[in-house]
Subunit: 215 residues, 2 copies
């Protein structure tokens, strides 16, 4: 039912499964028929009232070229140009690499935010009736910007993340496990100078990020 | 050596230990001699070049009154007025309660940021030489605002957190342990509808925070 002179693309958060499906559906023609894509922009709320014409301005848009696929030629090339028109920064990346990177920089922080918000609600949500207890909202106002950012993305609904959890499970399991181990190590080092090494490593990461954050 | 008509205060991040020390030093006179305080404002960088005259404008400033201490009377009252002059919102809170709340809304998010940054550096820091590997800086630019906020506070040095880790150890251990358990539960639920419950709880938390975030 699809004309053969149409190129199919997608904007899903994981790429390995959808690329494999495209290959099995289109076979050798996949290089002319399909380009996997993933715009790294979005909001924690959906609906036309949250629409923003500049949403993709300077946002990274991953494209996952197939082996031998030229993103600049044919219909893919027209799509490439369209993305540039809306201001996206196109970053070609291999699908497996894409999914692993996104597990670390996007899916893991999301799950951290869910874990933090869920645990905070359990800790303070029901007990906040006593007069001396700060309410949840007071806590939110008292905490810093990083806490508020984590809380903000914790508004993201399960329906948006269900497919991520189901199609990037192994990468996300690994990232979560590594973070859990690191948190446990920090917890066991609170009274120990070994905690300094964790801070030094994290500081080094933050330092390497700094020039970009000043842009 | 201190005149008896001076009131001592502090701006430390934990209050139980310093309040106990004030009681043991001043005895019954502690109510007239000491007020524990903790301004909830700051930056990830120190030094006079980062000074900001509006730093405390609308920032919460915790005071931890002793039993029977009137924060509005005497020298404490003058201090109270001074804090209001610089725009601080004074929140009286019991010292034990203060330390537990701060473990959850400030010290835990800080350790999460350290754990994330430290793990990201290990995961991508040394391997990012291959041509197809996004560099650390690219990752940072590609990730969302929450990732950047976490990275920002990961610049905070060990010297600022050492005393927190040493004086709020039990509360922080508990918060870290609870978060680790929650992350493990999420990791084990990635293929399971139980993940929806975690999102629902986190969404509920985020929803309760929303009115304030629109201020």
């Amino acid at each position: 039912v699809l004309p053969t002179d149409a190129v199919i693309t997608d904007v899903g958060s994981t790429k390995v499964e959808v690329v494999a499906r495209a290959k099995s559906v289109f076979g050798g023609a996949a290089v002319d028929r399909f380009v996997g894509g993933h715009p790294m922009a979005g909001k924690e709320h959906s609906g036309v009232e949250h629409a923003d014409p500049d949403l993709f301005q300077n946002a990274v848009w991953f494209l996952t070229p197939l082996a031998g696929q030229n993103l600049l030629a044919g219909l893919q090339g027209q799509y490439f140009e369209l993305l540039e028109t809306i201001g996206a920064r196109i970053v070609p990346i291999e699908a497996e690499r894409h999914d692993r990177v996104c597990a670390w920089i996007s899916h893991l922080p999301q799950m951290m935010a869910i874990a933090l918000a869920s645990t905070l609600l359990e800790e303070f949500g029901e007990k906040s009736n006593g007069a001396s207890e700060p309410t949840l909202r007071e806590l939110h106002g008292i905490g810093g910007r990083a806490l508020r950012e984590m809380t903000r993305i914790a508004a993201s609904p399960y329906s948006w993340w269900r497919d991520v959890a189901l199609t990037n499970t192994t990468n996300l399991e690994q990232a979560l496990m590594r973070l859990e181990q690191r948190l446990a190590h920090i917890r066991e080092s609170l009274r120990d100078p070994a905690l300094r090494e964790e801070f030094d490593r994290a500081n080094s990461f933050a330092r390497q990020m700094q020039p970009r954050s000043k842009e």
